[in-house]
């Protein structure tokens, strides 16, 4: 089992994802340079947060054309597990690996704070270790997290159970009140129809030790580890 963390020149959560997997979960992990088309036989790819190529244009708009994304696309289309966090989520949307797009936050400001998200689906490799309805406290840090898509797409997402994380309040009672950025249907994270590609705006890699204020993000990485273990068993 090996994780790969893609490094775009402006990635700034690459070290954090690496640390969460390598130091906290103690699983093999390596960096993959954006100009490489070789995914180094990794079993799961993480597109980390940051500002890939500066993002002075639309977030992720340039990153989708990078050499590494060609390989990530191939990898995803052949069933490989890909998780995009924040900027990684934006890139996956731009690359068409996930539906939807990001707009500026409804308040038009950068927001960094802990938010609460509900695990809506557990039949994905990113949430299988969580309980359905479990509420996770995880920080966000973004200007452009206002997830949007047309009505037909959002209806599709809901029908196919592709909304895997939804903003809510700490007790889970009021999703609208917990939505920090105006995202449609309070969506914090989605997966593709095949369920092997997912993106979310909150940063699970920043919530992996209680000293950081929460370790609720671990369940996402643990789910990925379990899915990889399961897949390895199935092929053995």
């Amino acid at each position: 089992m090996k994780f790969g963390v893609v490094v775009f020149p402006g990635s700034n959560c690459d070290h954090d994802a690496f640390y969460a997997i390598g130091n906290v979960l103690q699983k093999p992990v390596e960096f993959i340079w954006h100009q490489s088309e070789n995914l180094a036989n990794c079993d799961a790819i993480i597109l980390p947060g940051g500002f890939s190529y500066g993002d002075y244009l639309r977030t992720g708009a340039i990153a989708r054309f990078s050499p590494v994304m060609k390989s990530v696309e191939k990898f995803a289309n052949s069933g490989g597990m890909v998780l995009g966090v924040c900027n990684g989520f934006q890139i996956l949307c731009e690359a068409g690996l996930l539906p939807g797009a990001m707009m500026r936050n409804s308040g038009l400001r950068f927001i960094c704070r802990h938010v609460h998200i509900r695990v809506e689906q557990t039949d994905t490799p990113f949430t299988n270790a969580a309980q359905k309805g479990q509420i996770l406290k995880i920080p966000i840090a973004h200007s452009d997290g206002n997830y949007t898509c047309d009505e037909a797409t959002v209806a599709d997402l809901e029908k196919n159970h592709q909304v895997i994380f939804r903003y809510t309040t700490p007790d889970g009672s009021d999703d609208n009140a917990g939505n920090p950025n105006g995202a449609v249907h309070n969506i914090a994270g989605v997966c593709n129809r095949q369920r092997n590609v997912a993106g979310l705006m909150p940063h699970p890699e920043r919530a992996v030790e209680s000293a950081l204020g929460s370790n609720d993000g671990l369940v996402i990485f643990r789910s990925m580890v379990e899915a990889l273990v399961g897949a390895a068993k199935a092929t053995a």
Binding site: P9, N12, C13, F51, F110, C112, A141
Partner: protein
């Protein structure tokens, strides 16, 4: 010598326009043995500007303590460096970007952050935290500020906040703390002081000293444009007038993505072992970096401007040398290994060009297309610039009588509504609306972000293994109002409060950095404030074992002849040996005992029993006096550095023993505000209703308002589980710190402070929190 014949001839008028005095010009002629050409004049003018040369402050700065057993590098390099154990060092420094932030708030603030970050990674250290100390004019209309000015101040604040966020967030460094204060004197001259902290392995620290004759000099990073020409000399080293708007083109423009590339590429290039020296191009750009590197190394340097990557065509040598385009570095590589360095920059997609080499003989020669554009002995230029013993004159003593001072409310008066007003004031109210616009948690080291502890606390991951052992704590402080009333005492308070904040987080203060913001040095009264401040800093830093390792001086903070309050901002760095022992301000559980710790010896046994007039005079400088009565007078509280030291040592011991559950110092707004903030923090940042309140009894001898809102130093409150109370009292005794049980943490919403048997503050945490939590946001988003 062959200089470009088309160049403008230097005349006394042109020299004067460059801010070069007649005496300075004679000195230039003496150093060169001839008249300078215009490029040379430009180079001298920026190098000898107040901003770069410290010509008015140098003679005073010598009085600061700069040595200590942990100090690896004191003032004079890009940043100070201290030993933090296990083979690691911390590099940190604070710098101002005041004038640019007034002229163009967003870009001024971004480039302020960018500049200080470069200072840190130029040393080979990866930045892990930024703090910002900000001062603005009043943001609501008052007797000193009309609505138009208040609106303008809000816009400046908004631009500065966005600028800081935009740069740090993209670069990937958490902005973990700092402070924001408001006074009418900053209305035309806001202060933006940015502090950055980085860590490195001790043996991998880099210095800016050119070495090795024949070694190539490499230019890396962004291309050079016409932006920021004379940023340091004309913008930072002169006061504002009505024409200051025309200085907008002197402000640089920041590109955080470029800086991020530069960071990664520089750190990677340093790992090759082929980099000999490195210096960032900040103030005075290519001029400062070439001249200072040669001067420090005792060498010469020769560069060819034609090879400098340029953003625009037709730039003159003068413009190239004086440009302050951001995100550029100059480095010296080992001869024969330059390709290793160039390869790293190519990997990161950055320009990297060999523009010259290190030479023998101490001359800096600037060529342009085969002609000599400037030829200057580097050392005399960099080190033998003018030094001024500016006239110093104390102002006439202020004559104040009782009438000028705060009049205490009659005994028995209920102070709740005043308290609510105080909590809602811009100075005291929650800054969450601001700090949420900063990325505070990237790099996953933030153990205590804004407002969680008295200091910002970041843990240290070993750069090779990621293993965490220690943490660093940082706090910036500086009360301009107190410094205006008494610069020496105010400066001492700034050091004491920063160090006390660090100690409240459980960390031991080890070093300091300072940013000295003052008016025009050409005014004897300002120089008196400056001199007094230096003496105050020296005394406090010596007493509290926090040598000054760097910083900067910002003069000419005045507009239309009116100076700002003298505002020294002090950043104190502390070390916490066990990263799991961070103390925060939040109360933790019902039934915990609230203990007031007081280091002042007069309070052991008999309590503070100053005569009423003394108390009145001292209280007139408080936040409460300013906010409630509109009175700013008297004197800052008497300062007792030995008491501060005792209190800090006691707090550090209590944290290490794990004996207390929270700690919070008493500062702006006094004890009542301290208690309230600890209640608010207990509810966290979430939407859950506050669950903990307090029931406190004050049996002070001074009037109720002084007891509740007085700002005398050397005090903190801690909360303690009843079973550990005896141990805490015992530790306090060992450190000769008075410890008094003043009340209890209670379940529920009640916030009650009793004084002489009567409730003087009687409210609910919910009501108080509402006033405190949302007032800044309401003010800043209402229009």
């Amino acid at each position: 010598m062959a200089t470009a014949s088309t160049e403008i001839r230097v005349t006394p008028k042109i020299a004067a326009e460059h801010g070069v005095t007649r005496e300075e010009y004679a000195r230039i002629q003496q150093i060169l043995g001839r008249d300078p050409n215009v490029t040379e004049l430009g180079i001298f003018s920026v190098m000898w500007s107040e901003h770069c040369s410290y010509k008015s402050s140098k003679v005073h700065l010598k009085r600061l303590p700069t040595r200590g057993k942990l100090v690896v590098q004191g003032p004079g390099e890009n940043a100070g460096v201290v030993d933090i154990g296990d083979g690691l060092v911390a590099a940190f420094k604070i710098e101002s970007h005041n004038h640019p932030s007034y002229v163009e708030p967003f870009q001024g603030a971004t480039t302020g952050v960018g500049g200080i970050l470069r200072d840190i990674f130029t040393m080979g250290a990866r930045p892990i935290a930024v703090l910002d100390s900000l001062r603005f004019g009043e943001i609501t209309a008052s007797r000193h500020t009309n609505e138009a000015d208040a609106a303008k101040n809000r816009r400046i604040l908004d631009g500065v906040i966005r600028g800081i966020g935009s740069y740090g967030n993209c670069f990937g460094v958490p902005t973990v703390g700092g402070e924001v204060a408001f006074e009418p004197c900053y209305s035309q001259n806001p202060l933006v002081n940015a502090l950055a902290l980085g860590i490195a392995k001790k043996e991998e620290i880099f210095l800016a000293k050119a070495k090795g004759i024949g070694n190539p000099v490499i230019y890396v990073g962004a291309k050079t444009g016409r932006d920021g020409i004379h940023g340091a000399s004309l913008l930072a080293s002169a006061e504002f007038t009505e024409e200051s708007k025309q200085k907008r083109p002197n402000v640089q423009v920041g590109d955080p993505f470029m800086e991020k590339l530069l960071l990664e590429a520089c750190l990677e290039a340093m790992q090759t072992g082929a980099v000999v020296a490195i210096q960032d191009m900040g103030a005075a750009g290519l001029t400062c970096s070439t001249m200072e590197m040669a001067s420090r190394g005792g060498t010469g340097i020769e560069i060819d401007l034609a090879k400098v990557p340029q953003r625009e065509t037709g730039m003159t040598p003068y413009e190239i040398m004086l440009s302050e385009s951001q995100e550029r570095m100059l480095l010296v590589a080992e001869k024969g290994r330059e390709h290793e360095v160039l390869a790293v920059f190519k990997k990161w997609g950055l320009d990297a060009v060999v523009v010259g080499n290190v030479t023998e003989g101490g001359i800096a020669r600037i060529n342009n297309n085969g002609r000599v554009a400037a030829e200057i002995p580097a050392h005399p230029l960099a080190e033998e610039g003018p030094v001024y013993h500016r006239p110093v004159a104390a102002p006439p003593p202020r004559i104040e009588t009782e009438k000028d001072w705060f009049t205490f409310a009659p005994e028995g008066a209920n102070l709740t509504s005043n308290f609510v007003k105080l909590l809602a004031s811009p100075a005291i109210s929650s800054k969450r609306w601001i700090t949420e616009q900063y990325d505070t948690s990237v790099r996953t080291n933030t153990l205590a972000g804004p407002g969680a502890s008295d200091a910002a606390v970041v843990r240290i991951k070993d750069p090779s293994t990621g293993v965490v052992k220690r943490a660093l704590a940082l706090s910036t402080d500086g009360n301009g109002r107190w410094c205006q009333l008494n610069p020496r005492a105010g400066a001492m308070h700034a050091v004491a409060e920063a160090a006390r904040n660090v100690a409240c987080s459980g960390a031991r203060p080890i070093a300091a950095t300072n940013c000295l913001n003052f008016g025009s040095p050409e005014k004897p009264g300002v120089m008196w404030q400056f001199s007094e401040t230096i003496d105050g800093l020296a005394e406090a830093c010596t007493a509290l074992n926090t040598p000054i390792t760097g910083g900067n001086v910002s003069f000419y903070n005045e507009t239309l002849g009116k100076s700002i309050y003298p505002t020294p901002v002090i950043g104190v760095l502390g070390i916490l040996d066990d990263a799991s022992q961070v103390l925060k301000i939040a109360f933790r559980q019902e039934g915990d005992i609230i203990v007031l710790l007081d280091g002042s010896s007069s309070s052991v046994g008999a309590q503070h029993a100053a005569p009423l007039l003394g108390t009145q005079r001292e209280f007139s400088s408080s936040e409460y006096s300013k906010m409630i009565a509109g009175i700013v007078a008297g004197e800052p509280p008497a300062i007792d550095l030995a008491a501060e030291k005792r209190l800090q040592d006691c707090l550090i011991a209590l944290a290490a023993e794990g004996a207390v559950l929270s700690a919070h110092d008493i500062s702006d707004g006094g004890l009542a505000v301290t208690l309230a903030e600890s209640c608010f923090a207990s509810a966290g940042a979430g939407l859950a209703p506050p669950a903990l309140g307090v029931n406190v009894t004050l049996d002070d001898l001074s009037p109720a308002e002084a007891a509740a809102f007085g700002e005398r130093g050397a005090r903190a409150i801690v909360s303690v589980t009843p079973s550990k109370l005896a141990a805490v009292l015992n530790t306090a005794r060992q450190y000769k710190v008075a410890a008094r049980e003043i009340g209890q943490v209670t379940r529920g919403d009640a916030f009650c402070i009793e004084y002489r048997g009567r409730a003087v503050i009687d409210s609910s945490v919910g009501r108080l929190r509402d006033a405190w939590a949302h007032s800044l946001e309401r003010t800043l988003t209402s229009k």
